[in-house]
């Protein structure tokens, strides 16, 4: 199982600090990393290696926790413990901070861009999720402040094709939001995890959502629309989400990140036991009760906690990971024979 994940390169992305997060740009040619050294670095492939193309060091006063590329690839948003979110505009190899979004009371934990490119979501330890609208003049306006969670909100992501938002929290739940009339509302709460939910990832179709937690499990949730064949009860016109699979017994410590590959359907996880794991759905399994097999397990992928795993959006099998040890690593995943 070690052979399913081959190391391509290891890069000291944020030396003497921790690397918190990685994000590939939409074309898969650039990787943004961010860390405890308060900087963001942009990496590009040169030959067999990865080189740092830019360092965005003046944007934040504290740790940069997450970064997210706009769907067009021309903008990068960064979420920081300094309670702000910076929007950077790309001009060839240079990035310029064009706006700083303020409003959260304390650390911003995550930022995500909607597929349309005109909406942005942020979340914070202040327990809220904010939805921002951006217009053609690069003006940002907060259109909703959602106070559904009862604790620190760790992560937000948008559905791949619908204007649907999901958030993960220290309150052990996942919440889903959509626009209703002129405001955003929470229409579903996914309960089941027994501790903090750290991250989320939608499958390529957007019908399923993976969540990972401090309870050392990964859960797969499925959306059931009103009038569904399976007879799952829905509340009025809102879809219901049910937990259809729990991956337990695989991770020995907190699972910090989960990433669903939109090219291959493989599910990668980043764990506090320093390992990277990949799961694939058994082809013959029932879509309503799927079973996943562990197809790769690399202990000591890093020398400390793995914080993030990110599949390249264009190159199948290319996985990037980063760790508390400040390093970033690139891997080639090959599904083992006979699956």
């Amino acid at each position: 199982m070690k052979d399913s994940l081959i190391l391509l390169a290891r890069v000291p992305a944020h030396p003497d600090s921790r690397c918190w997060f990685l994000a590939w740009n939409p074309t898969g040619t650039l990787l943004a990393s961010c860390g405890g050294d308060r900087s963001i670095r942009i990496w590009g492939k040169e030959g067999d290696g990865w080189v740092c193309k830019s360092v965005l060091a003046e944007g934040h006063q504290r740790t940069v926790r997450k970064v997210a590329w706009s769907p067009c690839g021309n903008y990068l948003a960064s979420a920081s413990f300094d309670a702000t979110t910076c929007i950077w505009k790309k001009n060839q190899d240079d990035f310029e901070c064009v706006t700083t979004l303020e409003g959260h009371e304390n650390e911003v934990k995550s930022v995500a861009w909607a597929p349309s490119g005109s909406l942005l979501a942020t979340c914070s330890r202040d327990k809220s999720v904010w939805v921002w609208e951006v217009d053609e003049e690069d003006e940002y306006e907060c259109v909703s402040v959602l106070n559904s969670h009862t604790q620190d909100v760790k992560h937000v992501i948008w559905h791949p094709s619908q204007e649907l938002l999901a958030s993960a929290s220290y309150d052990d739940t996942v919440k889903l939001y959509r626009e209703e009339e002129d405001d955003w509302v929470c229409y579903a709460t996914l309960e089941g995890h027994e501790s903090t939910v750290w991250s989320l990832s939608f499958d390529p179709s957007g019908q399923r959502l993976a969540s990972c937690s401090d309870d050392r499990t990964v859960r797969i949730w499925r959306q059931y629309l009103p009038g569904n064949e399976q007879g799952v009860v829905c509340n009025g016109s809102d879809p219901t989400w049910k937990c259809i699979c729990t991956l337990s017994g695989f991770h020995s410590r907190t699972v910090y990140d989960v990433s669903w590959c939109h090219l291959t359907g493989a599910l990668a996880t980043a764990c506090g036991d320093d390992a990277i794991r990949v799961f694939e759905e058994d082809p013959s399994s029932d879509p309503q009760q799927p079973s996943f097999s562990l197809t790769a397990h690399l202990p000591q992928a890093h020398s400390q906690d793995v914080n993030c795993v990110a599949w390249n959006p264009k190159e199948p099998g290319l996985l990037a990971s980063c760790s508390d040890d400040g390093e970033m690593a690139f891997w080639k995943y090959q599904r083992p024979e006979g699956l």
């Binding site: 921790r18 405890g36 504290r62 740790t63 926790r65 413990f81 304390n106 650390e107 934990k109 330890r125 620190d152 760790k154 220290y170 501790s195 903090t196 401090d214 050392r216 017994g249 020995s252 410590r253 506090g272 036991d273 202990p299 020398s303 906690d305 508390d324």
Partner: protein, 160 residues
């Protein structure tokens, strides 16, 4: 003898949480685990209490038997500390947890994963405090708060 029975009493309560890892580690090389535990204790005993002019050892917030070390795999250890705060005050308990984590992160020479808990029954909101002090993102953010950082630095500074 006291040390061993101390180790056993909370090994039992933690065995489910650690999903079977505990018995194997504890039984295999007890002397090495004891030595590692003492190494940990030597680092934490001199931490100063945030409020009083005494060390955590003097106030019995930590004791030798409150440290447990288990081997995860070769040269990699799980360190579990259960401390007893002097007063049932939330923010002080969290602060002590923070000091323990920061000092060990800086000073413990061997590769380790760290879990810090308030010893059971000593605090009304112990689950809430335990969750916070074991959330590394919360810990990292707290240490970027200049006021909190200053207090922690004063508590962990090595005595002359």
């Amino acid at each position: 003898m006291e040390q061993v029975s101390g180790l056993l009493s909370w090994a039992l309560s933690r065995v489910l949480w650690l999903s079977g890892r505990s018995e194997r580690g504890a039984a295999r090389q007890p002397r090495i685990m004891e030595e590692k535990a003492l190494e940990v204790y030597d680092i934490i005993r001199t931490i100063r209490d945030p409020e009083k002019p005494n060390t955590l050892e003097e106030l019995e917030v930590v004791t030798e038997s409150c440290v447990e070390v288990k081997e995860i795999h070769e040269e990699d250890y799980l360190v579990i500390i259960r401390f007893t705060p002097t007063v049932p005050h939330c923010s002080l308990a969290t602060l002590i947890g923070l000091c323990l984590r920061v000092k060990l992160q800086r000073c413990l020479p061997f590769k380790h994963k760290l879990e810090i808990y308030i010893s059971e029954g000593t605090h009304s909101t112990e689950e809430d405090i335990n969750k916070q002090i074991n959330d590394k993102e919360r810990v990292a953010a707290a240490m970027e708060n200049p006021n909190l950082r200053e207090i922690v630095e004063q508590c962990v500074i090595e005595p002359d």
